[in-house]
């Protein structure tokens, strides 16, 4: 029913970094794997970095466990390229970043073992998003792959996804935290009476919240983190430049439901607002068009069927049609949203019969993306 003009593989040709964005559960990982698979089959050395694959998809790629090592994925015999599947380990990526930017090994060790570090590195809002990009940066730097396909953590809006590096460095901004690090010194230096007054209130506040011991502990943490902050800020800028490079393509994945499409369009627009162009929107798990057997009348096809089957098949075919109607309305809504303005390539990716669970399934999706017979 929805016939794409050019296969997605064509739209992404020549891109070196492909970033998949979208809400949780839309099929970012399977789409990323299929894009990587198609590209590797066509001769590229490809790395697919994924965040949280569904269990059986993780099994198919050999990366079910969170700390799984990069794994070579077996390709069809006639493939010229190679495919490596990797899984994001946020915690370890964060640790590596600390090790890299700390002024000394001793400082890195103290920071990594600090009680607040664990709380911050694990639960800081957006740290997983930040780490996905951080890991991506490491992989680009390592240069072992021609093409990197990254499946980002679920985000409901672009801000959540892309402001992560800025938020992290902003939160640890010396301005806000230096007060906690060295209250006495800063307080003494504070010029006006008003500034002094608000500082003492702030200190009182912090003390009431945290108690004295924690405040000291926070101070130590902030001093240690302050040392690596400029490194982090440089890195955040480099990541930002990488994401805006001409060889980078953003692919937005959505499901064929009107409300999901509306949210996807908002996501697209928010990205556009900060200067990031979405190369393609993949509408994933679109129900296949009515099969050829539907051309023949039901009475003929089901003539020999047990009565229970005859009634049930009628209902089931109607429900499949109702589903197609829901989906085609969503597709129409998507096209309408881009009427009269520059639209990304829109690609309807037909679903398999069941979940994507094996390498053959990934291969089948890759066929659909590259429109191979």
């Amino acid at each position: 029913m929805t016939q794409q003009r050019s296969p997605l593989a064509g739209v992404l040709a020549g891109k070196r970094l492909i970033v998949l964005v979208g809400e949780g559960g839309v099929g970012k990982t399977s789409t990323a794997a299929a894009i990587g698979y198609a590209s590797a089959r066509a001769g590229e050395r490809v790395g697919v970095l994924t965040v949280d694959p569904a269990p059986r998809l993780g099994d198919a790629l050999g990366i079910r466990d969170i700390d799984a090592a990069p794994r070579a994925v077996t390709l069809p015999a006639d493939s010229e390229g190679a495919l490596v599947a990797m899984r994001l380990d946020s915690k370890r990526t964060f640790d590596r970043m600390v090790e890299r930017y700390a002024p000394s090994e001793q400082a890195a060790r103290t920071l990594l073992q600090h009680p607040i570090y664990e709380a911050v590195s694990g639960s800081l809002g957006g740290s997983e998003h930040y780490m996905a990009f951080q890991r991506l940066y490491e992989l680009v730097e390592a240069g072992e792959q021609d093409v990197l396909v990254v499946d980002t953590p679920p985000a409901t809006n672009a801000a959540e996804l892309l402001s992560a590096p800025a938020r992290l460095t902003g939160l640890l901004d010396t301005g806000a935290l230096s007060i906690l690090a060295e209250p006495a010194r800063i307080l003494a230096r504070a010029g006006g009476a008003l500034a002094r007054a608000s500082m003492s209130v702030l200190l009182a506040l912090v003390e009431r919240i945290t108690g004295d011991a924690l405040q000291k502990s926070v101070g130590e943490f902030v001093r240690l983190f302050g040392d690596i902050l400029s490194g982090l800020e440089d890195r955040a800028r480099e990541i930002d430049a990488l994401l805006r490079a001409p060889q980078t393509a953003f692919v937005l994945v959505a499901r064929p439901r009107s409300q999901d499409i509306a949210r996807a369009v908002r996501f697209h627009d928010a990205l556009a607002e900060i200067g990031i162009e979405v190369a393609a929107i993949v509408v994933n798990r679109v129900t296949p068009a009515p099969p050829p057997d539907r051309m023949r009348p039901r009475s003929e096809r089901l003539a020999d069927a047990p009565p229970a089957v005859r009634g049930a098949a009628t209902v089931m075919e109607r429900e499949m049609d109702a589903l197609r109607l829901i989906e085609s309305k969503a597709m129409a809504r998507l096209r309408a949203a881009f009427q009269g303005r520059k639209a990304p390539a829109i690609f309807a990716l037909e679903s398999l019969d069941v979940d994507v669970a094996t390498l053959d399934d990934i291969g089948a999706l890759a066929d659909r993306l590259s429109a191979r017979p």
Binding site: A176, V206, L214, V309, M320
Partner: protein, 300 residues
């Protein structure tokens, strides 16, 4: 109504599972049966009435009539919650306002990871206090990834700072969250592998934290129209590819629900809405009774 604290239904789940719709429908159903009900929005984008528009396939529809909203709608305002916190709990009085610029908030958040989550949580639990006069508080909660830190914030805070006024508040929040009579986490999931996996992991994390047992609701179930032996006939005959595809999907969903129920007990379900407005409000009413522990309810 007998005066007492309200019960909290905390509706969370993966993005796109229909949280906004279900929480609105539950609040409506509760209000229609005469319960003093509040619907709490925790995500700014869900506060608009647009969230009430049922989407075919994504969320079950209510009865579709556009009657006046019979429940109280509350938008959880983080800034306001923080102000209350500063004034009432920390007793910082009028200077609190001055501290409410974003920089200060960052400093507070960084000073004790979990404080901002706790502040938001207290904004929710405060609504359940007896003097608010409510019987039910339905929370349209953040998605799984954001709800877990929110709900576990009292425990995290107490690890960092076991004494003082904040610790006292954290303990009071704990006493609500670990009481099944006061707090019911409702995890909405679709019958899909990734969503089910995430749901099971959330159930486990909530249990480990000491929070009252969660209820799992499966949204978007396909009806099973065939017995297995009838499906065999379809498989052999090639008479209807569509019916076979339908059957495969429904069967896969059934497998996933079995996995869920083996781990968390009976999971009430809501049918997939093949056409808009198909799900009767009776469905929602029955689900509400189930979640409030009034009547056990079979899945199909």
């Amino acid at each position: 109504m007998k005066p007492g604290p309200a019960r909290i239904l905390f509706v969370t789940g993966k993005g796109g599972t229909g949280k906004s719709f279900l929480s609105r429908a539950l609040a409506r159903a509760a209000a229609l049966r005469g319960m003093a009900t509040a619907l709490v929005h925790t995500r700014p984008e869900t506060a608009s009435p647009a969230g009430a528009v049922p989407s075919a396939g994504n969320a079950p529809a209510g009865n579709g009539s556009a009657r006046a909203v019979p429940y109280q709608e509350v938008e959880l305002d983080e800034r306001e919650a923080l102000e209350t916190f500063l004034v009432r709990i920390l007793r910082l009085g009028f200077v609190a306002r001055r501290l409410l610029d974003s920089r200060t908030f960052s400093a507070v958040a960084a000073a004790a990871p979990g404080v901002s989550d706790l502040v938001r949580l207290l904004g929710i639990t405060a609504l359940s206090r007896t003097e608010k006069g409510l019987e039910l508080v339905v929370v349209d909660a953040p998605a799984t990834g954001h709800s877990l830190p929110l709900l576990t914030s009292p425990w995290r805070i107490l690890e960092l700072t076991p004494l003082g006024p904040v610790a006292r508040e954290a303990r009071m929040a704990q006493a609500i969250l670990d009481n099944p009579g006061r707090f019911v986490p409702v995890i909405l999931t679709t019958p899909e592998e990734l969503a089910v996996t995430e749901t099971l992991s959330l159930v486990e994390q909530l249990r480990r934290a000491g929070i009252a047992p969660a209820r799992v609701v499966v949204n978007g179930l396909w009806p099973v129209h065939l017995q297995a032996r009838d499906a065999d006939w379809l498989l052999a005959s090639n008479a209807s590819t569509d019916a076979l595809l339908h059957w495969k999907r429904a069967r896969r969903q059934g497998e996933l629900v079995d996995i869920l129920e083996a781990r968390v007990g009976p999971c009430p379900g809501l049918p997939f809405a093949f056409t808009e407005g198909e799900v009767a409000s009776a469905e929602i009413g029955a689900l509400l009774s189930d979640l409030l522990g009034e009547t056990p309810r079979a899945r199909r």
